[in-house]
């Protein structure tokens, strides 16, 4: 991402205004958005489903790897026997073509990988991006130059190609979901995060409260951790919400090129990959993972937007007509109108 774009991404949060004024305010603003609440509930549900996958499948009485050759029509390419892809009391969402593995089990187990990979990758991207961005923003000219070049190099690397190469290099004993997450994170995303954080850091570091911290006698690093990181939280969280769907898609794309997670471990991306040709013969095979992915992405995006709005007091309220002469004037008068203001005498003490 270019610096220009980084500037765009950060534009949402005005630095001179306290972006989030306290956690309580944040929750209040978040709670005020019904869509964001629903999205948060959906995300929570998805995570819960992923965590409880063994329980849920035990409830159904199936597992994601056992073949059921009797449930598919071998002569017809292995299409599931029965309506809606073989939906039955035993197989709540039917079975997979060619193998007869249970769709429900694969879907809920797939959530583990898809969510795990995308959240894991996001975590790495954010941690690495913030570290590099802050270092570049605070370091001297040379540190900045070197780090910015490194970032550029990663930005110009084609994800798919590097993924193909790296997946071939790394020994097969390395846990594949971790590897996939790492590759997605390392090759993409972190660098754009770093650019954004760098731009943000450059802006923040000139703020008076950072100067004040230096005047107190703290070292640069202490100042960075204490004063900058909290200020970065808002834009980084917002940005992370955009990275999650991108990472889910990246995992699906890697599966398409045959370099995703290892079978028999199911992932939504992998299911989609093998299912797209079944669109006509067994549509539910494609639709179920596609729907799961869609719901996840929509929920994550809406939640991300919600968090962005909740973090940004300007976006929270509609246009104001007051002069907003100086912003603190509003805070000044935040005292309810009915309550008399403190008299000057009290103030002087």
């Amino acid at each position: 991402m270019s610096e220009a774009l980084a500037a765009v991404e950060t534009a949402g949060t005005d630095l001179s205004v306290p972006a989030a004024s306290g956690a309580r305010q944040f929750w209040r603003r978040l709670r005020a958005q019904r869509a964001a609440l629903v999205a948060a509930a959906v995300v929570a549900l998805l995570v819960l489903v992923a965590l409880a996958a063994p329980l849920l499948t035990a409830l159904e009485g199936q597992d994601p790897t056992t073949y059921h050759p009797t449930l598919i029509d071998s002569a017809r390419g292995g299409v599931p026997i029965g309506s809606f892809g073989g939906v039955s009391a035993d197989h709540w969402l039917g079975v997979e073509p060619q193998t007869g593995r249970d769709m429900f089990a694969r879907l809920v187990y797939g959530a583990r990988v898809s969510l795990g990979v995308s959240l894991g990758a996001t975590l790495v991207q954010v941690v690495l991006g913030v570290a590099m961005g802050v270092a570049a923003g605070l370091g001297n000219r040379w540190v900045d130059l070197v780090l910015s070049r490194v970032t550029d190099i990663f930005i110009s690397m084609p994800l798919m190609i590097m993924a193909l190469a790296l997946l071939a290099i790394v020994p097969g004993s390395f846990p594949r979901p971790v590897l996939v997450a790492l590759i997605i994170a390392l090759v993409s995303g972190w660098a754009t995060t770093a650019k954004m954080v760098r731009a943000q850091t450059l802006a923040l570091k000139n703020l008076d409260y950072v100067a004040a911290s230096r005047l107190s006698g703290w070292s640069t690093w202490h100042t960075a951790v204490r004063e900058l990181l909290p200020g970065l939280a808002a834009p980084v969280i917002t940005y992370a919400a955009l990275l999650i769907p991108a990472n889910i898609s990246a995992e699906a794309a890697l599966s398409f090129l045959g370099v995703g997670v290892k079978p028999p471990t199911p992932s939504w991306g992998q299911m989609l990959t093998s299912a797209d040709v079944w669109y006509q013969a067994a549509p539910q095979y494609l639709l179920l993972p596609a729907l799961a992915l869609f719901v996840t992405v929509v929920a994550m995006t809406v939640l991300g937007d919600g968090v962005r709005v909740a973090l940004d007091p300007r976006a929270a309220s509609r246009l104001r007509i007051g002069t907003g002469r100086k912003r603190e004037a509003r805070a000044d008068t935040a005292v309810p109108a009915g309550e008399p203001r403190k008299s000057r005498k009290e103030d002087r003490s």
Binding site: A4, S156, L293, V298
Partner: protein, 332 residues
């Protein structure tokens, strides 16, 4: 003025350094990738002696840095290749010769780039229209049902992998409804009309994925602009809502849209692998995946460098355009 020239100069130097390091990284990474190039080129059942001959022929026995040095020489001084019966010259910006086909990488690029450009340029028009249009509408109709529907549609675009969108589009539009012939790349210079018809579905598929980003960005920056003081000025002077949206709010979003567009364009040139694969478009992405599979190092490095070049160029262009579109950036 001098500031601008300096900015461009620094950008160019930075880009050259970045490309140089990128090429080293790619060289090293693919050097350690499994896959014996000589064996693959020679054929599965070649004898060790034959494999050795091929390795010599392709200079695979040289140490890595020597091979890299030859590569650099080729870029600056050109290279000569033997076809067996004669010697062929590959002029100065020579990125080497494919191990597999013996073609010059620059020739391969020249045949693939127009395809990738055709795909991305057309898709760009659509994603801009679709994305910015949706963004404007949803900023305008904020909070209403129509906005929700639009948002959901564009999100469906991001959420669905391109191979699913593309295949389903193709099955429905070309297979079942038979509205369009199955896509098959036709060169623009051969037949512009066929070129467009054949690329319509690939354009749509690629655009559908990207449009949502543009919609989100447009909507966000428009809402931001709408909250700014100068919008209040025009409202207070009786300027109608439509004019405020179209003239002032949208104008405020252009800088960021331009920036995002340049970046998206750059990365799509080499990154539209899946779209190209699915629709059988012989573009850079498809070639790259193939070259990686057969460890055709010169092709891989050449392609990555060229796509990297476009990404970097696009980033630089984005920065310049952004600065031009938003004078306040120059001020700051």
């Amino acid at each position: 003025m001098s500031g601008f020239t300096g900015f461009v100069l620094r950008r160019v130097i930075g880009a050259v350094v970045t490309l140089f390091v990128l090429s080293v990284v790619i060289y090293v990474v693919f050097y350690v990738t499994p896959g014996d190039v000589a064996q693959i080129t020679c054929g599965p059942r070649c004898s060790p002696a034959q494999v050795h001959q091929v390795a010599q022929q392709l200079r695979l026995d040289d140490p890595l840095y020597v091979r890299y040095w030859h590569f650099l020489q080729g870029i600056f001084a050109g290279q000569d290749f033997s076809t067996g019966t004669s010697v062929e010259h590959c002029p100065a910006p020579c990125l080497g010769q494919s191990y597999q086909s013996g073609r010059q990488v620059t020739d391969i690029l020249l045949t693939k780039l127009p395809v990738s450009f055709s795909l991305v340029l057309g898709a760009m028009v659509i994603w801009l229209l679709l994305g910015v249009g949706t963004g404007v509408l949803s900023a305008w109709r904020r909070g209403r049902l129509s906005e929700r529907v639009l948002t959901a549609v564009t999100l469906a675009g991001v959420a669905t992998p391109v191979f699913v969108i593309g295949l389903v589009l193709m099955i429905v539009v070309c297979g079942e409804l038979q509205l369009l012939p199955f896509p098959q790349y036709v060169d623009f210079t051969d037949d512009p009309e066929q070129w467009a018809w054949n690329l319509l579905l690939p354009w749509l598929s690629l655009a559908l994925i990207e449009a949502a980003n543009f919609a989100r960005l447009t909507r966000a920056s428009m809402l931001e602009t709408l909250a700014e003081d100068h919008i209040r000025t025009f409202r207070a002077y009786g300027v109608g809502e439509r004019a405020v949206i179209a003239r002032h709010a949208l104008r405020g979003a252009t800088a960021s849209v331009i920036a995002l567009n340049a970046v998206t364009f750059g990365s799509a040139i080499g990154g539209a692998v899946l779209t190209e694969t699915l629709f059988g478009l012989p573009g850079i992405g498809q070639e790259l995946v193939h070259a990686v599979k057969v460890v055709d190092l010169p092709v891989v490095v050449g392609m990555v460098l060229v796509t990297g070049f476009f990404v970097i160029l696009a980033n630089a262009v984005a920065d310049v355009l952004y600065a031009v579109a938003d004078r306040r950036v120059v001020l700051a």
